[in-house]
Symmetry: C2
Subunit: 399 residues, 2 copies
Amino acid sequence: MREVYLDNMATTLLDERVLEKMWPYFRENFANALSPYPMGVKAREAVELAREEVAKLIGASPSELIFTSGGTEANNFALRGLAYANRKKGNHIIVSAVEHHSITNPARALEKEGFEVTFVPVDRYGVIDLNFLERALREETILISIQLANPEVGTIQPIEEVVKLASKVGAVVHTDCVAAIGRMEVKVDKLGVHSLSLSAHIFYGPKGAGALYVKRGVRIQPLIYGGIQEGGRRGGTENVPAIVGLGEAARLVRENLPQWKSHLSDLSMKLIKNLQEKVEHLHLTGHPEKRLPGHASFIVEFIEGEALLLMLAHRGIYVSSGSTCTSKALKASPVLSAMGYPAHLIQGSILMALSKYNNEEDIDYVVSEFPQVVSRLRELSPFKEGWKDMDKWGACAPH
Amino acid sequence: MREVYLDNMATTLLDERVLEKMWPYFRENFANALSPYPMGVKAREAVELAREEVAKLIGASPSELIFTSGGTEANNFALRGLAYANRKKGNHIIVSAVEHHSITNPARALEKEGFEVTFVPVDRYGVIDLNFLERALREETILISIQLANPEVGTIQPIEEVVKLASKVGAVVHTDCVAAIGRMEVKVDKLGVHSLSLSAHIFYGPKGAGALYVKRGVRIQPLIYGGIQEGGRRGGTENVPAIVGLGEAARLVRENLPQWKSHLSDLSMKLIKNLQEKVEHLHLTGHPEKRLPGHASFIVEFIEGEALLLMLAHRGIYVSSGSTCTSKALKASPVLSAMGYPAHLIQGSILMALSKYNNEEDIDYVVSEFPQVVSRLRELSPFKEGWKDMDKWGACAPH
């Protein structure tokens, strides 16, 4: 049976070349990167080389990068660290209604600690309401956090516009780029942001390594205090193999992005077009054009996404029903809720996030299998005649 | 040239068996441990098996363990998380004067946020003053954090006594066990603590994986918010290979600790005895008996530890001058300062932390080389005639 992995917003297959670069730092050179003898110096050099690679990828200076254990830590660090560093100026924070949980949950925690948080609504494509954002701005607004691209629906946000508006009140802008890196160009000077997060395992790097870019001159309070690592801004023994892997993954993105991007675009356009032709009552979620290359997200009416996911897995097709981080929580996706989808439709959401490893044959296979699986499930569905028995879905209302 | 790695408080060589267990989770099964299809389920099972192994090692229940990116995150999590979860009861925290920076630095951050922190002094062996601790206790004392063993001087603290005292005011007790695990028995019921941190890479596991034990019923506030991972107490995609490695490293400790312990003890006793016989003006730091097996720390008078370290490295002997996390900060060790050593002596501090990989021949080599290196350095030292030119050391005074 063919196997087609399309769950690349949950995690990606580590590139062989990345693992090869990591390999020597597991045993051959296992030293602490702060140790002053030759093995430690080499580990330090490897860490700093990785920092340069990540810096080059996003057009930053190496000293503007802080390594973290991943995207979630980087986002928490940005939210708390930038909020508390600017506490004297004000207590107002703005985030979008479609941020990842690693942004919304620290934001809610800050709310309990005396910050005021405004959630910017989005339209039916998931694009933030810039007028609302502009009206929400005030003197006390210290931090705005808007993702560059949404992992669940692929929508790309107008970050440059956000930065322009933010500058009117002198607010710092953070952008979560975890879903974007490896799929679209991300340059800090073009975006104009003050802070940016990324995670290696979403662009063929290892789990356990991420980074936070903090623009020179922008103050941030540490989240994890310890030794003198990362200029005193993030304590803890550096995870040398993972950081080296992050660096190599960043280098590969920098060298291959144009090809990867067009490859991903071609495949996802073909996938979306074919599925829309072959499956009735299938809705593309997110923006039809302003979306991540390789990103195909849908709502399939009259079925339950989790069942669809498992039946597809049975045929070797691995997808997700949306955000992996919340799927097991059995709650309706807050992202799709914010976009105006009712709970009964959200239950039928599905995400196919492609990677550079996918090819035309993968798409052909999915296009041939997916409609069969949907038909089979709809035959079993209590809603095959339409949405009559709505009560059954009540438990899944947005939280 | 023989190479003898004695910097095992900075990091240890990953056990081959640990890497073997991690291996399949880099590429063969790279799935997100929350994904519901078979590859994800297998990753989840591997994570939960690792949790059981860590639980067995310390005599806890698996649900009492939260995986982190390492010891520093675990210590930060404990300090902040336990402090804020008990904020309503009081604002007083007690830590020892010889804690690792991943405890003292978050404690100082909490001080700035309105908590009151008392630092418990230690005697010349580095043992905490229990009478001082008892007198410092009050109704508002919510958290006490005392390490089980000190990484720099090896001294083991009377944690059971701390727990007894803490219970009088209902304070929660956290113990940093990063240096202890793999070198001495650590059981949560025997210690009686509410919280305990550990780090894989100090006991032959990988960098990037640690754990915080939180006793059932003890409330803690998250440090890193995100998805539903770790029961909602620590967000972020689980670093499956590293967690699997932590589990296997824990299993190896559980199965081999008695042998490793006596092996380490034999070697460090031999090392200490021989060096003390061969080198004049050499002082063992830390407690002479109540210390970690395999831990040999000294002050070598009339020399500068950093120079000693580099000359030893030139002969293939890798040691540290104390805490790796602060060595480059060029500050006198706060641990040795707290033990009453003056700055000019602290400059001559050196740490030889052995591992299970060391053998008798390693010790013989060190015993033959070390006195030569010390003699050579003392010939070059401006203090060979004694401590006459003390001014030169002024810049190194404790901070």
